[in-house]
Assembly symmetry: C2
Homo-oligomer: 454 residues x 2
Amino acid sequence: MFYRTKTLMTLIDPRPISGFKEFLPEEQLILERMKRVIIKNFELYGFSPIETAAAEREEVLIAKAGENTKLIYSLSKLERANQDTGETQDMALRFDLTVPLARFVAQNYGKLAFPFRRYQIQKVWRGERAQKGRFREFYQCDIDVVGDGKLGLLNDAEIPAVIYGIFSEMEIGPFQIRINNRRVLNGLLEYLKIPLEYDDGQSTMNIIDKAEKVGIEKTKEMLTSLAGASETQADALIEVLTYKGSTDETIKWLASKQYGELYKQGVNELTEVMNIVRTLGVPENACVIDLSIARGLDYYTGTVYETTLLDNPQFGSVCSGGRYDDLASNYIDRKLPGVGISIGLTRLLSALLDKGIVEPNASTPSQVIIFQMDPVLRSDYFALAAELRKAGIKTEVYPEETKIDKQSKYALKKGVPFGIFLDQKRKDEGVCTVRDFGSRNEEKVQIKDVPEYF
Amino acid sequence: MFYRTKTLMTLIDPRPISGFKEFLPEEQLILERMKRVIIKNFELYGFSPIETAAAEREEVLIAKAGENTKLIYSLSKLERANQDTGETQDMALRFDLTVPLARFVAQNYGKLAFPFRRYQIQKVWRGERAQKGRFREFYQCDIDVVGDGKLGLLNDAEIPAVIYGIFSEMEIGPFQIRINNRRVLNGLLEYLKIPLEYDDGQSTMNIIDKAEKVGIEKTKEMLTSLAGASETQADALIEVLTYKGSTDETIKWLASKQYGELYKQGVNELTEVMNIVRTLGVPENACVIDLSIARGLDYYTGTVYETTLLDNPQFGSVCSGGRYDDLASNYIDRKLPGVGISIGLTRLLSALLDKGIVEPNASTPSQVIIFQMDPVLRSDYFALAAELRKAGIKTEVYPEETKIDKQSKYALKKGVPFGIFLDQKRKDEGVCTVRDFGSRNEEKVQIKDVPEYF
C-alpha cells in the first residue's frame, strides 16, 4: 500500500544516518560468516535462541539504565494527530540485550526450563555521538545462563570454552581470554578498607578497570586522591592488579595471601573455574587469570571476562561479561543469578576491516556463473543451473543476453570464483568449459559431470 | 555502564508490548530453521545479503510512504534536555525493506554490480492497532534484482523457482505460486476504457485485487458503481479475472483476445516468463497463471506474484511481489527497474503455530545431555562433552551436581533427544549408557565410540 509521490521534482539526498553502520554486500557476507561461527559455537553448548522486541516499555528500560537513560531512543508516531493504535508514548528502543533478557525471563518464568541457557544476536541502539568504533546501532551477540535461586560454577567455566571455540574458528589472529573474580577484588578492597564508592556514587572498581589503560602511576594517584586510599593501601592493591604468572603460579600466590573471607571465596571460585576450563580443552595460554580485570558494571559479583586480540590490543576487549547475582529483581520476586558474555560484532568487524585483518573477496555467495553465449541454448543454461543448485552449489545464470565481455566483467566485479561457458560447438561435444577466475585455468568438463566437478 | 536502581521497592510488570511478537525458545528454533531454508535458497540463486539501518531519515521514508505516513514510528531522545548527539529529530523506523533498498542502491550506486541481486531479512515496524495476524514488529524476507536502465525477463522467471525451493523445503503443506502480469490488466482496463483511478486517487486495481475475497457479484457492483464501468465493460473484465485453465490453455486463450498493444505485451511477457519457469524445473501445478492477481501496490508494472497455502487459503498470500519500473527515482537520476518478493515470516510462523501445522518439539538445539552422576567423574563428563562438540554434536553437561531425577526432568522439559549416563561402574567397563528419550530405548556404548554413535 506504499507508493511513490509522483509529483516530486527534486531528488532526496540518500545519505545514511551517522553511527548506523551499514556494510556493503562483500562486507555483509563476512559478517554473516562470523555470525554463523558464533551461532554454531553457542549451539554446540546447548544455548537456545531468542529474539526480543526492539522496543520495551520505557519504565522497563529506565529501571535498569541509571545515568544512561540519556542514551535511550523513545518511539512516537510520526503523525501525532492519529493516535488510535494504543500505547505508543511509553515505548523506547533497547540499549542492550540484558534488560530485555531480564524482562523476558520474568515474563515467561513458568514456561522456561532452568538453568535457562539462551543466546541472542540482535541490534541495540544508543543515542551517543557517533565516532570511530562507536556506533549508535550495533550488533550484540550474547549468551547467558540464568539459574533459578542458584547457579553452579560449571557455567562460569563453560563460557571461556565457548569464547575459545568462536575466536579460534574466526581466524582473526591470536587472542587471550582474561579471567578474574570480583570477590577477589571486592574482598581485597574490603580488607584494605578502601571504599567501594567515592564522591557519592563513583565506583572504585572503575579506577581498577582503567588501570591497564592509564598505567600504575595514574592509578595510584586516583586511588589515593579520589578513592581516599593510603599509599600503603594503594600499593597492596596495585601489587595484586599487576601480578603476572602462570595460572598455577597465580593461584598459588593468591592462596598464600590472607585478605579475609570474601577474598578467599573469590580465590576458591577462580581456582575451581580455571580447573574446569582446562578439563574442557581450552589451552593454557588461551585463557589466563588477569587480576586487573574488573569490568565497570556494578552488577557483576563473581567471575568476570575480557578477551583481547593479542596483535590488536587497541581494539579493547572484543568479548566481555561476567557473573551476576540477580538478573530480574525489578520484575520478579525471585533470585535469578546468571553468567554471560557479549560480543560487539559490528564494532569488531568494522575494526577488522579498517585494519585489513579481514578482506572482502566477493560481493556474492555465488560459486558459479553460467554465461549466456547463445540464445538458442537458453534452456540448457537454466537446466544446468537447476542441476547445480540441486547439488547445493550456489549458481547464477547471467541474467541478460548480451556481449560476453560485459558478462565476464560482471562476474569479475562480483568475485564469482568460477564461470561456465557453453556454446553450440561445445554442446555438440557434450562438454562445457569451466574457468577458474582465480588461477585463470580452464578445463573442459562433461556437461553431466558438472555438479560433481564442484 | 548500565546498573540497576537499587532502591526500587515495587516490581515492574514485565508485560510485553502488544503487536511486538516474541517467540519462546522452542518456537524461535522453528523460526531459525525457516530462516535458514530461506537464506539457503536465496543464496542458491546468487542473492547477496545486506542489512540496512533500522532508522531512515524521515524525508526518505515520507517520500515513499504516501497515506501510510501515519504508520511510521519516529525516534527521539528520551531526555530532550540532552541534545548533544546531532541529528536525532528527523529519524524514523523503516516500515518495509523496499524504501531502504532504494536508498541503499542510490547511495552505493557506484560500488554495486548491476543487475544487483540482494536479499534482506530484517524486521520492520508499523504503528497499527495490533490484532490477530497483524503485528507492529515483524520480519520481512525480501529478494530483489535491480537493473541499471533495463532488466530482462529471466529475472521475473527465477523468482517462482526460488519460492518453489523455499516452500517445498519448509514442508508446511501444498502451495501454489500464482502469477499474473499487470500489463495484461492495465491493457485490458485501457482497452475497455475503465478508468485506472476513481474518486480522486482510489485505484481500480484494488477492486480487482479484492475480487477473489469479495466474490464476483460484489466486484461487479464495485466496478460499475465506484469505478464507473458499464455492465458490458465489467463483464468483459470479470471474464478475464475468473478464467480457469492450464498454463497452456490460459496462454492460448489470452493470445486469442484482441485487447490492444499493452495487453498484448503483457501476454507476451507472461508467456515468456512461464516458459522459463518450466525450464527451471518448477512443476506445472506449483506455479500457475491466475489472472485475478493484481497486487494493490501502485508501483508494480509487470509480473506480479502471490503464493497460497492450498490447505490454508485463509492465511492469504504468504509470499508476494512483482516487477517495478523505477526503484529509486526519488534519490537518483537513474532508471532502476527491478523485480522482487517478500515473505512475511513472523506472520507466517505465527499462523502455522496457531493452526498446529508446525509444532515445537524442543526448546534447545542440544542433541545430547550428559548427566552428572558422580562428582568424582566430573572431568570425564567435561572431556566427553568436549569430544562430542569437536565432532559437531550439540552437547550439554547438566550444569549442577544434583539428584538424577531433577536432571532427567530438565532434559525432558527441554526436549533433549538423548541422554548419557556414566557412573564409576560403567566407567570401569569403558562404557556409558545412551538413552533415547523418544523411544525410551537404552544402549551401552563404548565411551570412545560415543561421538561416532551420533
